[in-house]
Amino acid sequence: MSTQRQSVKDIVTAPAAGQAALLQALLAVQDASPENYVSEEAVNEIAHLLGISRSRVYSTASFYSVISLKPRGRHIVRVCINAPCENAGKQAVLAALEQELGVGLGCTTPDGRFTLEGVSCLGACYMSPAIKIDNQLYGDLTAEAAVAIIRRCREEENIGHTA
């Protein structure tokens, strides 16, 4: 936790933070967290550093669907649930992902690797159905392709750990 506290201070007091600080600080703190969330300690620290109340920080943090106040997996798998993807076969892709990961929408795998989330339009309707894993976009998916992507992510992470 102390590492997150340190980074909170670095992020919030960075010269680049500028006037428009709160939402960008919350996003940066979340990105720096290995569990992809903004902890209660981090909220306290942000409030202290910006000189605003904790309730102000919570008010903003809880409004935005990208910001999580609960720990999540190391990788966020976002499935577009909007109409173009829905019509292009999102249901089959989602079902395959749920089966492969063993969890439903909004849940994190027991090993703490993946959180499965729904998202409103990834702006990839020309290659629907689409999903995004962290910052990487995948389109024109089938159930099999989606499962293969998850398996490749696992392998890459395993290699990263042993290297």
Binding site: Y64, S120, G123, Y126, N135
Partner: protein
């Protein structure tokens, strides 16, 4: 991505900038000539050119851009801001993403010219969180423009200074509404504010603020560079220039297309999209989730503000989503209602509760538990949302409902338990 307009008749020349979003490449094709030309003249001349070109906002509201620029310019001296709305959350739309990842410098140049016109020294680009690659490309483009003296202090030796910061959204569709976007930059919940005062008078941190969509700002350099007459010749007498169309759904070639105003929706689907992939055309959703659902016989309407207005078609962001005859209208409307219910901020009752009730009725219809009276109630709730919601989100949330009830009421009625039971109470009286 599909066929593109001849570059002499194109505002975006996307074919030229397929994989080279470099400053050198952009300048090789005439980039930043418009900025040099603008800075050599007066801010009034820039607004005059944009007004003569007849440019209107491309984010959905179609407000005349020159009038907005003039409103911000007319404020008493003092700090003011230019904000580019790149919170492209309208489902089915991906045009702004392509501008940012393929022609980022055209957007920066347009913003800089707009800033010169209104007298702003600071700009923000509010990019949605779902577009990290666009955020990254824009950051690199800003750094390159600064290094070349095209952003920052004393741009091109003119004495005019302007700089741009990237601001990331955090997954809220509502933040595409301009006042909600302002609240979001200020660190608050992205909820809309009462208008007036309009952002042109009291915007970011209470200062006058110009807020324009990505596509609108990217239209400015070609207008200034090639002149309003060239631009006006691209469209029709009513609507000038071109429009980016995000084409998706059951067509052969999905993708981004630039078409001149006056092109019909049928031409967009057949010529750009190569027609319906299989089966027959059943319905087209125009303008994204906040747009309308229309049947094939409305598709000869030209893409033009007045004609679309007469046909009840919302051009909106330019999303065209095609459905073949295997698709259920009700399922698609359910998807839209679920989307808006999730994105509603809960501030006003018509939107918050209206969507909840509409959602219940649609789900009841799909489960086969609804009665014909439910459809009338659905229509009433929808009218209430359209007339009484606080902001554009709630007002537009009813568009797909009302239009589908108008054109596809039979599909709703077919799902009712008491269908076919004639109940003409008045007749017995």
């Amino acid at each position: 991505m599909g066929t593109q307009l001849d570059s002499a008749k194109s505002v975006f020349r996307l074919g030229l900038f397929r994989d080279f979003p470099t400053l050198m490449h952009y300048r090789d094709f005439g980039g930043y000539q418009a900025l040099a030309k603008a800075l050599a003249g007066s801010p009034e001349a820039v607004i005059g050119d944009i007004g003569a070109a007849g440019l209107r906002g491309r984010g959905g509201a179609a407000f005349p851009t020159a009038a907005k620029l003039q409103m911000v310019r007319d404020n008493p001296p003092g700090e003011r801001y230019v904000i580019c709305n790149a919170d492209e959350g309208e489902p089915g739309t991906f045009k702004d993403r392509f501008i940012m990842t393929h022609i980022p410098f055209q957007l920066l140049e347009g913003m800089t010219i707009a800033a010169y016109a209104v007298g702003a020294a600071q700009g923000f680009i509010y990019i949605r969180h779902e577009y990290p690659e666009a955020q990254e490309t824009m950051r690199r483009a800003i750094a390159a423009a600064r290094a070349a003296g095209l952003l920052g202090g004393d741009i091109l030796g003119s004495g005019f200074s302007f700089d741009i910061e990237i601001f990331s959204g955090a997954g809220s569709y509502l933040c595409g509404e301009e006042t909600a976007l302002l609240s979001s930059i200020e660190g608050k919940k992205g909820r809309p504010r009462l208008k007036p005062p309009y952002p042109t008078q009291s915007g970011l941190w209470g200062r006058p603020t110009l807020i324009n969509n990505v596509e609108t700002l990217a239209n400015i350099p070609p207008i200034v560079d090639r002149g309003p007459d060239w631009y006006r010749a691209l469209g029709t007498a009513d609507s000038h220039g071109t429009k980016l169309i995000s084409l998706s759904g059951d067509v052969v070639r999905r993708g981004l297309y630039e078409v001149p105003f006056g092109t019909t929706f049928r031409e967009i689907i057949d010529n750009c999209g190569g027609g319906v992939r299989q089966g027959r055309l059943k319905a087209v959703n125009i303008g994204g989730a906040s747009g309308v659902v229309v049947p094939p016989w409305e598709l000869d309407c030209p893409l033009e503000y007045s004609a679309c207005g007469q046909h009840g078609i919302t051009i909106g962001s330019g999303a065209v989503f095609v459905m073949d005859d295997s698709r259920s209208i009700l399922e698609n409307v359910r998807n839209r209602v679920d989307f808006f219910l999730h994105e509603s901020c809960g501030k006003c009752t018509p939107c918050r509760e209206g969507l909840r009730q509409a959602g219940r009725i649609i789900h009841r219809l799909l489960a086969g538990n609804a009665v014909l009276a439910d459809i009338d109630n659905l229509e009433r709730y929808t009218r209430t949302m359209q007339n009484a919601a606080f902001c554009g989100l709630g007002q537009a949330a009813g568009n797909s409902l009302i239009s589908s009830l108008k054109y596809f009421r039979g599909e709703y009625e077919a799902m009712c338990r008491d269908r076919g039971e004639a109940a003409p109470k008045e007749a017995t009286a």
